[in-house]
């Protein structure tokens, strides 16, 4: 028993210290950057070599990019998840499962390379919103798909059985019973996909983002500024004078990600106890 006490105290100290460090980290990132918030910060362009102005084009660019990528990854992800959960007897299902798992393990920069060679070069989209969005959608596909599959598997089996018993065909069971029942979880999954992709930098570095643009993207073939790439450029390519903007952008991005987590929590309830 004594050993238990001492070990538990040691481990408790470790866990608490690490948690506090994380907490401190979050506080620093959010509050040290939030002091630069102002209406100007959110509504204007960067000016004077990033010494003043705001991050509006990056905010908008990020939004466009994520939304466009979700248009692809959400339907594909949901259906793939459905297939994995509902057709697990099918041999194809095993292969798809393997593919999804493989995709989720591939480094983000390799996705960037793929996006560059397929969307930017072969399809000719160049450095554009659409190239970045498509690349991002491939990255979020596994996340949404796995979460959907899990959500569907968690549904009570009586739900399906009663539907079949009533004479519904497979497609109707899927679209009219299962999907609506798992709706909450699926929305949660999409939100998580959204939260993950807004912070991804490497894949869009090569395919969609630019340093500095004086205008808003006109169509999906234009390049965009995005929040994470903006932070990267500010830190790597600018000096002291732009630090404030990097901090501010990071703070905003962090708050946004936290907000998504909060919404996920409220909508879906905790999955792990």
């Amino acid at each position: 028993m004594k050993k238990d006490r001492s070990i538990s105290i040691l481990l408790r100290i470790l866990s608490y210290s690490i948690s506090s460090l994380i907490f401190v980290f979050l506080v620093i990132v959010i509050f040290d950057g939030a002091k630069y918030f102002s209406t100007e910060f959110f509504t204007s362009y960067p000016t004077d070599g990033m010494k003043s102005g705001g991050i509006f084009p990056a905010i908008l660019g990020s939004f466009y990019m994520i939304l466009l990528s979700l248009i692809f990854s959400v339907p594909l992800g949901i259906i793939t998840g459905v297939f994995l959960a509902e057709f697990s007897e099918n041999k194809l299902s095993k292969i798809i499962d393997m593919s999804i798992t493989s995709l989720s393990g591939i480094p983000s920069i390799v996705f960037g390379l793929f996006g560059l060679s397929l969307f930017s070069i072969t399809f000719g989209f160049g450095t554009s919103l659409i190239a970045g969005a498509l690349t991002l959608s491939l990255m979020t596909l596994p996340v949404i798909s796995s979460a959907t599959a899990e959500a569907i598997r968690a549904l009570p089996i009586e739900l399906k059985e009663s539907a079949y018993a009533l004479g519904l065909k497979r497609n109707e069971v899927i679209f009219k019973v299962i999907l609506p029942a798992a709706r909450k979880r699926i929305i949660t999954a999409s939100l998580i996909g959204f939260g993950r992709s807004i912070g991804e930098t490497a894949p869009i570095l090569l395919t969609g983002a630019v340093f500095y643009s004086t205008s808003l993207p006109k169509n999906i073939f234009s390049p965009v500024m995005t929040l994470p790439t903006h932070i990267y450029y500010l830190v790597a390519a600018y000096g002291e004078s732009a630090k404030w903007m990097a901090k501010g952008t990071a703070s905003f991005l962090m708050i946004f990600v936290l907000a998504i987590y909060l919404i996920t929590f409220l909508v879906g309830g905790r999955r792990n106890g």
Partner: protein, 273 residues
Amino acid sequence: MKKVLLLLIVFITSFGISSTLVIKGSNTVFPIAQLWIEEFKKIHPDVEVTLEGAGSSTGIAALFNGTTDIANASRWLKNEEIQKMHEVGKYFIPIVIGYDGIAIIVNKNLNIEQISIETLSKIYTGKIRYWNQVDPNLPKKQILVYSRNTASGTYETFEKKVLNEENMAPWVRMVESTQFEIQTIEQNPYAIAYVGVGYVTEKVKVLKIDGILPTKENILTGKYPISRPLFMFIDATNGYPESGLIKNYITFGLSKRGQELVEKAGYVAAYGF
């Protein structure tokens, strides 16, 4: 080859639809371009401009790919690039927009005022690693050697004029931008870097090379050993742009106001004295 053609066609058409001026290339010329763009937009408010400053080589590469209108460069074309121009049947023309010297900078607290080209070369090729090898009065501390990455025209010029095309030591730290180097030098007493003279601030110390400082006069007269012209390259395969966006931008850049801005960015104006 076919891919390049397809890409070109898509891009030329997409450019025809929008009136965006795309400028890519040198990180050294970037501050000049940013100032120009800000004023240019005041004169032509309906025009959109995007700017990138990843390095001279990226700009020239983009010119070949047809993904940029103007390539800023802080170096002349490489032999391979000239050869490729012949191979693919393109004709790029240079426009000198200003002059620049490459300044060797160290921290203000480091007790050294001048350096010779051979010593500089030895530091960067790795034959000298400690400050006391440069000058016995200096402490025996490792020299933190910084350089721009290989996309940079500054890097190319330095390689050619100082290193005589020898390779840099593997421990030379390649960074993405000049600003980052300036910041590092400001804070780190044992670091050394080479930067375009326009980036120099009062917070760093510029070393004399063989007794000569990179003043405007020394650069213009060529007395300072590491000076170079700054260029804009445009694709004149289909003729010199006599009207349109590119022409307007060039005219602005070479105008009195444009050249004033070159000086404001810290470089030496090419015209308009």
